[in-house]
Amino acid sequence: MTVLLFYLTAALAVFATVVALTRANAAHALIYLILSLLAVAVMFFMLGAPFAAALEVLIYAGAIMVLFVFVIMMLNLGDAGEEQERGWLDARLWIVPGLLTTVLLVEMLLVFGESGVTTSGHSVSPKEVGISLYGPYVLAVELASMLLMAALVGAYHVARRFIDRPGDI
């Protein structure tokens, strides 16, 4: 029963993603994307990673998507932008990306193959994750913190209004 639920969730995630990336309206797309992320979070939970599931909801579906929402609000694209997007989603433009992704997908299927192994069916508790993070992965944590710092400074700098120097990024 629950296994069936997993496949259902997976189908939902794929469906939501496809819809999200083919919308003309950015806000609608974002709602579908959040749906996709939530579905993935459910999958995490089912795979026995409750901590990851929680973070997925909190940070991905929460913080990051909220950032998108703010930006969409600030851009204030309106109906004209939507029309333009619809024009850009011409059927002929699908051909090359569709072809390439199909080829890649087939290749990935071949790589994965049919090994017959299953997931363990046991969950990994947040405690174990925490011990691992601040044990063998402490360097990675440091690196991540540096990356976030750099991103913070970079984002602040990039998004600043340059009043005095037009035409310059």
Binding site: L100, L104, E107, L110
Partner: protein, 611 residues
């Protein structure tokens, strides 16, 4: 004593320095006094040396200072005065002084009067250094010095590009010989460990076996140098062109002194050459071939100076012949008498052109016998000496050479016959010159007569050319020689008679059957004459074999062929750059697409290689 010796080459060099530095400021008369006077003073000092040597023949060696000293090599500025040196010094300063005096009048109207004397003095100084040097390095310094002066003086009237070309030709051709000579010096030094002449000869005698490889190699290389300097086959082509310089230059450098440096070198190092009989034989054959080639070429020349130039080559050929058969003292004797009569002839030719609006073609002269009597006398005596008519200076030396050649073992009679043929040709061309230029009807009227500064040296040289044969050279103990060669009387009579035959033929051809019209400008009427006129077309041959390929190569290199390769690399890079720049469109989606294509390719490779 050392100071007096040092002053002999030092005075002309000092004078040259002064003339170069202050030539523009000082008046002509002072320049003339400096130029001729310094050489005259040298001549006086040389005369002192000569008298001292004649009185008591002692070898003087004077070391002035150490020139360079590196590891086990050292060369000093040192002089070695023996009989050979004294003879050479006397010729150089004596004839040189006369030519300088002559030049004062000859060059008086030239705008570069002081430059001329500066070069001439430098030449005399270098030449003296060459003959006085105690070691071969110092000799080589003088050797190169005279070569440079020759270059400067051949191209003296540098405003005419042809003169510059002749100077370059003289320089480059002699450079071939000089390079060989330098190599020879290297061989000598590496093998014997010294360049001082006397120790070198001693060491060679001790260490070398007769006919060994090293002696033959070393002497052959030295012979190369001598051949280049003395305008012998195959490096003789520069001398006829070197007549582009002022005529007294030709008299001094290209007749009396510099071109005989090769003869001096061989005589000076005869000890080495005696150890290499093969080279010595080569010397004889080179001399014979050269004397015949040059004499035949002289037969048909029309330019008075070119006749004399070919004649000089031919006479030096005689000297080489003498050296080659071991008659060193006769070679030096002929060097001296030749210096007298050839300087006389050149100065006479200079006087003719000086008085005849710079006319040099003998077929446009004629009848000068009565118009320029002093010059006629000079030419009469000079030609007689050149043709080796009995009792002139040339007779004694050339007769000695021919008879010595006859006594040479094995090849003697052949050398003698060749030399005799040369003597016949010599008398024909020298009297052809005399008869054509000085007899018959006048074609060009002289506009002046030579003044005293020209006439007096001519007369002195006349006397020397007549009586020089009686001078006995103080060469005993310096050069190995055994008196007068013993030959059958018939050979002797033939040797004496042949030149007279030549004179008779010349009289018949150019006085009795005087050609009504002058021959064509560029050579003779027949192909043979044209061939001889062009000096056996050796120049054309060299042009074909050396100059043209070199020019072609140079032109090819001018296009910088190696750069083509690097330019190609640059072009390829630029092409690649354009291709890569075209890829960079700035379109993010295109980047993403190519990214995906690459990803697909990589995964495909992984799939293929995975089992």
């Amino acid at each position: 004593m050392n100071l007096a010796l040092a002053a002999i080459p030092g005075l002309p060099m000092l004078s040259a320095t002064l003339l170069i530095l202050f030539g523009r400021q000082i008046p002509r008369s002072l320049g003339a006094v400096l130029g001729a006077g310094s050489v005259g003073l040298s001549a006086v000092l040389v005369a002192g040396q000569l008298l001292a040597y004649l009185d008591t023949p002692t070898v003087v060696t004077a070391t002035l200072w150490t020139w360079m000293s590196v590891a086990d090599f050292s060369a000093a500025i040192a002089f070695h005065i023996d009989g050979l040196t004294v003879v050479m010094m006397s010729v150089i300063t004596g004839v040189g002084f006369l030519i300088h005096v002559y030049s004062v009048e000859f060059m008086w109207e030239d705008e570069s009067f002081s430059r001329y004397f500066a070069y001439m003095n430098l030449f005399v100084g270098s030449m003296l250094l060459l003959v006085m040097a105690d070691n071969l390095l110092l000799l080589f310094l003088g050797w190169e010095g005279v070569g440079m002066c020759s270059y400067l003086l051949v191209g003296f009237w540098y405003k005419n590009p042809a003169n510059g070309a002749a100077a370059r030709k003289a320089f480059v051709v002699t450079r071939v010989g000089d390079a060989l000579m330098a190599l020879g010096l290297f061989v000598l030094f590496t093998d014997l460990g010294t360049l001082d002449i006397q120790p070198l000869l001693l060491a060679a005698n001790l260490n070398w076996e007769v006919g060994g490889t090293v002696p033959v190699l070393a002497t052959a290389l030295l012979l190369g140098g001598a051949v280049g300097k003395s305008a012998q086959l195959p490096l003789h082509t520069w001398l006829p062109d070197a007549m582009a310089g002022p005529t007294p230059v030709s008299a001094l450098i290209h007749a009396a002194t510099m071109v005989t440096a090769g003869v001096y070198l061989v005589a000076r190092l005869h000890g080495l050459f005696l150890l290499a009989p093969a080279t010595l034989t080569a010397v004889a054959w080179v001399g014979l071939a050269t004397l015949l080639l040059a004499a035949s070429a002289a037969l048909v020349q029309q330019d008075i100076k070119r006749i004399l130039a070919y004649s000089t080559i031919s006479q030096i050929g005689y000297m080489f012949l003498a050296l080659g058969v071991g008659a060193f003292s006769f070679g030096i004797f002929h060097l001296m008498t030749h210096a007298f009569f050839k300087a006389l002839l050149f100065l006479g030719a200079g006087a003719v052109s000086h008085c005849l609006h710079h006319e040099l073609n003998i077929f446009r002269m004629g009848g000068l016998r009565t118009r320029l009597p002093v010059v006629f006398l000079s030419f009469l005596i000079g030609s007689a000496a050149l043709a080796a008519l009995p009792f002139t200076a040339g007779f004694y030396s050339k007769d000695g050479i021919l008879l010595s050649a006859f006594t040479a073992p094995g090849i003697g009679p052949w050398l003698w016959a060749g030399g005799l043929l040369g003597a016949l040709l010599t008398s024909i061309y020298s009297f052809r010159l005399l008869f054509v230029a000085f007899f018959g009807e006048a074609q060009t009227e002289p506009d002046r007569k030579p003044g005293l500064p020209m006439a007096i040296p001519l007369l002195i040289l006349c006397a020397l050319s007549l009586l020089g044969g009686l001078i006995s050279q103080p060469l005993d103990g310096v050069l190995p020689d055994a008196g007068h060669p013993q030959v059958p009387h018939l050979i002797e009579w033939i040797s004496i008679g042949v030149p007279l035959l030549g004179v008779a033929y010349a009289y018949y051809a150019y006085i009795v059957r005087r050609p009504s019209s002058s021959p064509a400008e560029a050579g003779g009427d027949s192909p043979v004459e044209g061939f001889l006129f062009a000096g056996w077309r050796v120049d054309a041959l060299y042009n074909l074999l050396l100059v043209t390929p070199y020019r072609t190569l140079a032109r090819w290199c001018q296009g910088e062929p190696i750069d083509h390769f690097y330019n190609g690399v640059v072009s390829l890079n630029r092409l690649c750059h354009r291709g890569l720049a075209a890829l960079q469109t700035g379109e993010l989606r295109w980047y993403a697409t190519t990214f995906v294509i690459g990803l697909i390719a990589v995964v495909a490779i992984v799939l293929r290689s995975a089992p």
